[in-house]
Amino acid sequence: MLLVAAIVGLGGTYISLTRGQGFSTLSIGPWTAWPKTGTTDIDPYAQAAIARLGRLPIALGDGVEFLARADDKGRLLDGRCDVELTGVTPAARYWTLTLYGANGELVANSVKRYGFTSQEILRRADGSFQITIAPRASPGNWLPTGGVERYMLALRFYDTSIGISTKEGREVPMPTLSVRSCP
C-alpha cells in the first residue's frame, strides 16, 4: 500500500511539474500563456513548477508570456527544420520573441541572435511579418536554432491589455507556426 502511495504521489508530482505550469491556461493555436502565474492568485502547481525551475514569473502588470513547444500541427519544434512564424500579434507596446533550449537556456549560434523585439522586425506593408526559425541563414528575419533537437519559443507582450479574462478570439491574433522543410 505504501509503495502504491509513493508511486502515485511522487510520480504525480513529478509529472505535473515537468509537463505543465498550472491551471487556468490561455491557449491560442500552438501558444499557451498562464496569466494568473504573474499574480498573487498563482495556483500551487504553477508555484511549485516555478520554484523548481528557479525563474521569476512575469508580473501581469508588466506583461504576458506565451510559450510554444510545438507547431500548428502539434509536432514538437525541431531545430534542424525550417519553421515559419507568420502573422500579426495582439496589441501591446512592445513584444519580444526568444528561442530557448529544453531548460530555458539561450541557444548558442554563430550570429549571437537569441530573439527579436517588435522594433527590429522587418514587416510587410500591411504590418504583418514572417520570421524564419532555421539552423542556416535565411533572408529577412532569421532566428537561428543552432541546430538543437528540441527548442521552445517565448512570445512576450509588454504593457498589454491581455490578462486573466482574455479569451481566444479576434483581439488576440497570434502568429502561426508551420514547418517549411525538414532534413
Binding site: V4, A5, T39, L56, A59, T98, S118, A154
Partner: protein, 187 residues
Amino acid sequence: MIRWLLMLIGGALLGGVVHLATIFILPRTADHDAYSRLASIAPVNTVVAVPLPTPEKAAMPFMDPAYASAICRYDLSQGPLKLTVPVSLAYTSVSFYTRRDVAYYAINDRSAGRRAIELDLMTAEQHGELPEDENVTAADRLIVESPTLTGLIAIRALAPEPELMATTQAAIAGAQCKKLEDFKPED
C-alpha cells in the same frame, strides 16, 4: 482479492495526499528558486545589475535577452524602503516578488507617468504606523505594501535593438533602493 483491491485503492488515496503535500511543500524547500539564486549575487537593500543571459550562463532560466535588468533583494525588518528608477528610452518596468517568488505588484514607466519611477515599499503594519500628516501631504506619493518582510524587486528595461543595450543598462544603473530614513533627495 478484495483485500488486494482495498490496498490498491488505499494506496492510491494516500498517494493523492503525498502528491498534494509535495506540491505545497516544494516552494518552501526549494533551494534553487529564483530568490535563492539571486541571493548569492544580491546583497540586501541594494540595487545590483543582473548580467545579461548568455547560452553558457544566466542568473535564471527564461530570462529575456532583450532586457537589461537589476535586482533589489529587500528586507523591511529595519523599516520601509524608497525605490527610485530612472526611466530608459523604450520601456521600463518594476515588478515586486515575495520571498516565494510570487509577483504581487508591477508598475511601468507609463503608469508612473514621470521621468523616474519613485515609490515607497513597506509592510501593511509600517504603512499603518505612518504619521497621519505624512499620509496626507504625500497624496501623490506611491506606497506599495509588501505582503512579506523580505522579497525581490526586479527592475527591467527593454533595449529595442541590440545596439541600444549599453544605453539601456546605463539608464537603469542609476536605480536606488534604500532605507527611507537614509534617503536624501538629490535636488
